[in-house]
Amino acid sequence: MAAPFTVFSSRVIPLPAENVDTDQIVPARYLKVTDKAGLADALFRDRRFEEDGSLKDPRFILDRPEMTGRRILLVGDNFGAGSSREHAPWALTAWGIRAIVSTSYADIFRSNSLKNGVLPIVVDRSTHERLFALLAKDPDAELTIDLAEQGILLPDGSTIDFDIDPFAKRMILAGTDELAYLLSKEAQIGAWEAAHPPRIDSRAGAR
């Protein structure tokens, strides 16, 4: 369960690549863990590290000294494509990322991120270009993310509004999770099951 999402300000890590897939975010060989911790070094592993574990030269954007502590990632279209691995937002969280800004996300990645307190913000194309242009001019520009108000505050005082699913917003703001909500529907689930006999019994055919 993630901590409640509060207003925060941060400088931004720009990663202007499209269709970044979850195999890039966390390569499959790091999926052998049986817990959620310790994935910070797996994040973008093959973009950041040589096979012997030393940092690549030149360094990947995340490993440039000035990126330390930044919590907002600005990325290209369709971020998080491919595999359903929740290790992707686990690794982003472990590294310190709390919000991503893009024009679009792959569905499963978006859903997984919301369940881990990582906010996938969608902006339109021109706003997206404006943000990249802002960072090109001022790489240390600081943004303030206010989920309750659904706004990104820019250094010049202007605000970019964004949409978010109201239910997801409620959950992430409160830091509560969907399972607690589902468990509260016990009576309805029981009634539905009583009216809909299971289609299969996987244990009947057990060999």
Partner: protein
């Protein structure tokens, strides 16, 4: 009297499974079948224990070990202690919560998306989920099947439900007829090349049209399997007699009077005349060629006789950058023909193309032929049952005589978690589903293609067009059950 509005199959399955929905909230959607495997389930079970709750419906849950297990001799050790620990944990979790497990040594073991249909667990009209994006495979039966994250695996284990927003629908109509040497894999690669890897985001594909109706169940599974590579959450095909014939008599399929009842229900599922989709696209099967990818996502695909595109021709700066980076990673030249490009490894297998009919197609090309010098050909059956059947039919002997490695069932080099992987810089033609950077091994370079193209390339030692092989005319595009 009001006439009910025409509905798509997706709307029908959706409505059938909504348990409840609060205003402004997503629907609570009932899940008929939950498939689990070793890689995306451990943290979900830990979550259950932390909350002190159990598995609500173990009898609607099925587990297998497939992702990180060795596909060499099973008596040999795992690639590493972590993979072994993960499989051991799956066994312990299934034992503790009473979930049937088809683990190593079980005759029903195999890739999760191969065994569900094989056992008759996958049925029309169902909702099916799994912590794996290729769950869309099960849509071939007219089921609403989609991949979920581990938090959602925990939710389904705990409540047998999931929170979902109703999906938008996208008709993918494939008219006409495939020509010899062109197969189901080429349909889906052609679709993704047209719409891009994000083209289906937020939608469920429904594949319709004569070319789809003409496909066998296994070929339909290949098409639906890669729906996620087009960004769609799921992809499905309305059930018909082909579906029912495949299902009849399978271990978990309804039998006797229940079969007749199920059949009557399943026949009401197809999309009503006049129902509308949010989006639509039409593809002409007659014009399709074997497809092959040249880049680092499944949307970077071309007909096999084409040339690698040039970044200079891309108007959009983002696409130009992406293509430049992909060609650099793949070490390909803009404008070069893809035919004749050197190949080091050929992989036949995966939940996309690891079924018996896929192996038959590969074997038909490899029979009385031998792989080129220096080429490694791995044939990895999708399940233990596929392996046994291939051995009964003598396919395994054809593979071995051709110089291929005949291995045990699992995901193997599709995801390269188990030690089956490319070395940096190697080129592979792969029947799997993803050509992402490093997907098949750090620094490895993947060309996605059909089993026919993969086998032809193994013989030639370069990317090769299966249609140029003598005897290919007899390989009817839609042949084989």
């Amino acid at each position: 009297m009001t006439v009910p509005a025409p509905r798509t199959i997706v709307e029908k399955i959706w409505t059938d499974h909504v348990v409840t929905q609060d205003p402004g909230a997503p629907a609570v959607l009932a899940v008929d079948l939950h498939l689990i495997h070793e890689v995306t389930s451990p943290q979900a079970f830990s979550g259950l224990r932390a909350r002190g709750i159990g598995v609500r419906r173990p009898s609607q849950t099925v587990a297998t070990a497939d992702h990180s297990i060795p596909t060499t001799d099973r008596s040999l050790p795992f690639v590493d202690a972590m993979a072994l620990a993960q499989v051991n944990q799956l066994e312990a979790n299934c034992a503790e919560f009473g979930i049937p497990l088809h683990g190593i040594g079980d005759p029903a073991q195999g890739i999760v998306h191969v065994i569900g249909p094989q056992l008759g667990l996958t049925q029309p009209g169902m909702t099916i989920v799994c912590g794996d994006s290729h769950t869309s495979t099960h849509g071939a039966f007219g089921a609403l099947a989609f991949g979920i994250g581990t938090s959602e695996v925990e939710m389904v284990l705990a409540t047998q439900t999931l929170l979902q927003r109703d999906p938008r629908t996208y008709e993918v109509r494939v008219d006409g007829r495939l020509t010899p040497g062109v197969s189901a894999k080429d349909i889906i690669l052609a679709l993704i090349a047209r719409i891009g890897v994000g083209g289906g985001t937020g939608h469920v594909f429904e594949y319709t049209g004569g070319a789809i109706r003409g496909l066998t169940m296994e070929q339909r599974m290949t098409v639906c399997n890669m729906s996620i590579e087009g960004g769609a959450r799921a992809g499905l095909i309305a059930p018909d007699d082909t579906t029912f014939e495949y299902l009849h008599g399978r271990p978990h399929a309804p039998a006797g009077a229940s079969w007749d009842e199920a059949l009557a229900r399943w026949r009401t599922l197809p999309t009503d005349d006049g129902a509308t989709y949010d989006r639509a696209i039409t593809i002409d099967a007659n014009t399709l060629e074997p497809m092959v990818t040249y880049g680092t996502n499944p949307g970077m695909g071309i007909p096999i006789t084409s040339r690698v595109p040039s970044p200079a021709d891309q108007a959009d700066p983002g696409q130009r950058r992406a293509l430049e980076r992909a060609l650099e990673y793949m070490d390909l030249r803009p404008g070069q023909p893809i035919l004749g490009q050197k190949v080091d490894v050929v992989f036949v297998g995966s939940c996309t193309n690891g079924r018996i009919s896929d192996l038959r197609l590969a074997a038909s090309v490899l029979k009385d032929r031998h792989v080129a010098d220096g080429v490694r050909l791995m044939v990895v059956p999708g399940s233990d049952e596929v392996k046994r059947e291939a051995e009964r039919e003598g396919l395994s002997e054809i593979f071995k005589a051709a110089g291929a490695e005949w291995r045990e069932a699992g995901c193997s080099m599709c995801i390269a978690m188990n030690g089956d992987q490319l070395r940096p810089g190697q080129y592979a033609v792969s029947t799997s589903n993803r050509n992402f950077e490093g997907r098949q091994g750090r620094g490895g370079r993947t060309f996605l293609a059909s089993p026919l193209t993969a086998a032809a390339s193994a013989i030639a030692g370069v990317v090769a067009d299966p249609r140029r092989l003598p005897g290919i005319e007899t390989l009817a595009a839609v042949g084989g059950r």
